[in-house]
Symmetry: C2
Subunit: 324 residues, 2 copies
């Protein structure tokens, strides 16, 4: 099943969120309007807003109220991407020029700050301080996760646990919180909200693992960029950590990593990619991703059977099979 088919039922509401996203960045400042619009147009799966909307169906669904949660979640995600691009010296994302490359790092930094601040402004329109608190705690963790990523650059001694803790912070918590806030803003009860939180958390873990696997498995055509961009930035992901555990692979892989690090990522990484692909690490990573999907779906067990639940399950399977 394709994502667009799953989204079809919510098409109208997703379009309303998209409109609201556009409005939210339509600021009285020419440059910020331009950079933010550039980011928005680059698209994305809008998975966080969709999770907000679907989770909202487990309470008293009210699109107007949902907007105040769905839009900030996407904005926070976007803002973290602009800052990541500065960190990674990234020139393209999703086949489009990044803000830092089209303008410069300074503009990208303030664009991120601005979008972030707008996100807060919008969510603060909901008179439920509990939601603000949940969101701000997740943001704190997200930023720590991003710092952690830098700390572990080219670190071949890091453990699976280091990796999982990092992607939990960097990716999974914001998706978990999107589900939880979607539920709470619709006055769903706490048990429901926490089930949806666990669902989102486990889907988010899969999402990041899949993303990291794809960067090694994908072709340039599929990815819109050459494979291995993670390692070029120094980012050691799950398949790499698994491969480092394989005798016979560990040493040549470490030498490759040293070589890539010495070249500051400006080098051919095909030997590195080949080593990982031949190590059995990809399959182990796939299995871990599947386990998280299973956990995600089990988290929904106690929830009433409804179309929103079936949609969440479909999206979870889609992300589990993610190959795009």
């Amino acid at each position: 099943m394709k994502l667009q088919e799953i989204y079809a039922r919510k098409k109208k509401d997703i379009a309303a969120i998209e409109k609201e996203l556009e409005r939210s960045i339509n600021v009285d400042h020419a440059l910020l309007r331009e950079t933010a619009a550039h980011l928005l147009k680059a698209g994305g799966k809008r998975i966080r807003p969709v999770f907000v909307l679907l989770s909202g169906e487990f309470g008293n669904y009210d699109l107007e109220r949902m907007k105040h949660v769905a839009v900030p979640m996407e904005l926070i995600h976007m803002s973290s991407l602009v800052h990541d691009d500065v960190i990674d010296d990234a020139n393209t994302r999703r086949g489009q020029l990044t803000v830092r490359s089209k303008w410069d790092n300074r503009v990208a930094m303030y664009t991120g700050d601005y979008i972030f601040a707008r996100a807060l402004e919008i969510i603060s329109g909901i008179p439920k301080p509990e939601l603000h608190q949940i969101m701000s705690k997740a943001i704190v963790q997200m930023v720590i996760g991003e710092m952690e990523q830098i700390r572990f650059f080219y670190d071949t001694e890091q453990s699976i646990r280091d990796y999982l803790l990092r992607i939990r912070r960097k990716t999974a918590l914001l998706i978990a919180v999107s589900c939880k806030l979607g539920a709470l803003s619709s006055d769903a009860d706490d048990v429901t909200a926490n089930r949806l939180y666990r669902f989102g958390y486990n889907v988010g873990m899969t999402f990041q693992i899949r993303d990291d696997v794809l960067d090694i498995r994908g072709t340039e055509k599929e990815l819109g960029k050459p494979p291995g961009s993670d390692v070029k930035q120094g980012n050691i992901t799950l398949p790499v950590i698994y491969a480092l555990q394989v005798p016979g692979i560990r040493e040549p892989l470490r030498r490759e990593l040293e070589r890539i690090q010495a070249a500051d990522g400006q080098t051919d990484v095909s030997a590195f990619i080949e080593l990982i692909r031949s190590s059995g690490a990809m399959e182990r990573a796939d299995r871990l991703a599947s386990r998280y999907i299973d956990k995600a779906i089990r988290a929904l067990d106690g929830l009433p059977d409804c179309q929103a639940k079936r949609d969440l399950i479909d999206i979870a399977y889609f992300i589990g099979d993610r190959n795009y």
Copy 2:
């Protein structure tokens, strides 16, 4: 009167805020703890927390509650400084190495993001959504003000109004909001809160004008850095705009600015400084700063006469005379 004397009465509470600031950044992440502590140790006048505390005296003063406003206000200010240092390629601030210079731009960007996120987390502990909204609106404006500063770099056609609007966003609003939130979090009434807001706004305007004047008037010894650092970054401040209005000064000044811009600020700016100092612009800027101080003090007119009010007036005069 010295600032320390005015602060003396609140010494214990200011120390409690300082302690809370330290605690707020004491995160379970070695690098972030280090960078944030470095920032905190660099000091500062803590003018925003002090305004929160003094404004709180116009309501039901409760230090525990105050902490949830005073600490975020200082953290937001600190976070904007770290990001500014990235933008300005600044190597020192208040005589100390900046985070970007001691570590790097990436670490500085995430340190700013982190401190910012912690600020939100702390203020979200107060169950008054209105406060969150006021704060987030001010942050949006602050970021726009920072972008505006870039837009007007080396722009000799900008008006006084452009300048005032920019410093309003960049500096005055956060100080205004510190006063307002100090009052509201103490359950002071809206009229009182808005008077304190106007006070803070006008003090903030003076504060920034004084800062900008000082960068041209001060000696290297007084400033801890050579005068003219604003223009080296491209920042055209009030005295410069006034001087550009003076026939006989305008043309040589424009040529100097072109020369400084062409050298990307890496040049001697003493001729520039001399032109401004001889133009009468410093005196005009002083007069405008004084007018804002008068407005600040008038904003307090309707408030009951109490020690907090007298302290606010003393601080306003101190900032008006600011020469440090």
